[in-house]
Amino acid sequence: MLLDAAAAPLTARPYYQNGDPGPLVAALATVPELLEVSLPFLTTVLGASTLDARTKEIVIVRTSALLHCVYCGNSHSVVALDSGLTAAEVVALRDEPRAALGGEREDALLGWVDAVAGGNGPVADAVAARFGRSFADHEVVELTLLVGATMMLNRFCTALELPTSPAVIDRLTAAGLR
């Protein structure tokens, strides 16, 4: 199911120019028209934006923990470390029940993430109100889409059993996260 460089379809080839693009691209390349739209979408939603990288990685790591996605949890634990989270903070996000990170803004965010990714139906008014006090409307929209996109990735990567790269495992081991 994962295409290597020799099997990469024409429109997928740019993703292979710098070597192994990783299992997500290698899987999506089997349906190149999906790769063409989903990668830019995911890069936009998960990548650099007006929200700082730390905030976004908190969302991604926590969502991935709630959905038990090993691939995303591992990969984004490394990104989280690179985005300024400590190993202890990453552990706190991955634990169940999770520990608080200690600041009102981030704890309000985590309450929102837990409700959106871990719950069903509407988010409780109190959770939404607390989240809304710390984030502007456009940030609420962006962070909620980030949760949703991460959930989509979580289910995709888990169902297809995408493998964690050896480099990620090495980083996690070095940080005491395995």
């Binding site: 379809p9 024409l10 390349a29 089997t30 028209e33």
Partner: protein, 275 residues
């Protein structure tokens, strides 16, 4: 990006759309791109699907169709389907030419006077050389079928695939096809392409995307850059020339193909005479 119609009219995009009607075949040729044979998965396009693709191709501005396989005439009602396709756009149907006896020969008469030509594979004027690649009695069946088809008013072309660079071999073959009633203008000669079973047999020349005309090719597995794209090796479909899995609406792969063609450096696409 321009439209497919404008690109075809300007000669930027080839006008022919290919349809892989099926992958199974009564032969197991040594150089077959698709590892076709009697036991392979059929992976057919239905007649309705082919006709709808043809209608969309015409609407998009494509100017011709090709049907290949596998052996298309193993599919029931292929003569009627080809006639339907020919009513939409000029069509060439590729066939190994070994099935045109009895009821199949009678059924193919529906193509007489239509805008459909049958392109039959014949690789050598030497029966032994031809049959070595294409199977026992292939030569005899083909040289019997060609005049029988022509007598019934069907346009026949001959495609020669091979590695011989001996001009005497080609001259003898041309003498043969002229004698069978096929003029030089309806004889194409092309090399064995090193894809599919030819790789396993260590035959042919390597062809990259730059060597292959960008002829939109529709299969049950998706759309490809060229009819030389949806090849199979060791039972696995090659994806290196896959455009999209989406084939309906046809504009999806057509626009993808056009985008790639317009980003492609000019020249260098005819060096192997792959047509």
């Amino acid at each position: 990006m321009s439209t497919p119609a404008a690109a075809v009219a300007a000669g930027v995009l080839p006008g022919r759309v290919w349809l892989y009607s099926n992958y199974h075949c009564n032969l197991t040729c040594t150089y077959c791109l698709t590892e076709s044979g009697p036991g392979v998965q059929r992976r057919e396009l239905t007649a309705e699907r082919m006709l709808e693709t043809a209608r969309q191709a015409a609407e998009l501005g494509f100017t011709a169709l090709g049907v290949t396989g596998g052996e298309p005439f193993l599919v029931p009602d292929m003569p009627k389907t080809l006639a339907g396709l020919g009513a939409i756009l000029p069509t060439v149907g590729l066939t190994n030419g070994t099935l045109f006896t009895g009821r199949r020969l009678a059924a193919v008469e529906v193509l007489a006077g239509t805008d459909v030509a049958l392109q039959i594979s014949l690789d050598s004027a030497d029966p032994a050389v031809n049959d070595e690649a294409r199977g026992p009695d292939n030569f005899a069946k083909v040289v019997a079928a060609i005049p029988a088809l022509i007598e019934r008013g069907i346009t026949v072309r001959i495609a020669t695939t091979g590695e011989s660079d001996n001009p005497d071999d080609l001259a003898r073959l041309c003498e043969l096809h002229r004698g069978l009633g096929v003029p030089d203008s309806d004889h194409v000669v092309r090399p064995v392409i090193s894809r599919g079973r030819a790789v396993t047999a260590d035959l042919g020349v390597d062809a990259t995307v730059d060597d292959l005309p960008a002829e939109l090719t529709i299969t049950a597995d998706g759309a490809f850059w060229s009819p030389f794209g949806p090849t199979v090796i060791n039972g696995r479909l090659d994806t290196d020339l896959l455009l999209t899995r989406t084939t309906d609406p046809l504009r999806v792969p057509a626009q993808t193909l056009l985008g790639l063609v317009e980003g492609r450096p000019a020249g260098g696409d005819t060096t192997l005479n792959i047509r």
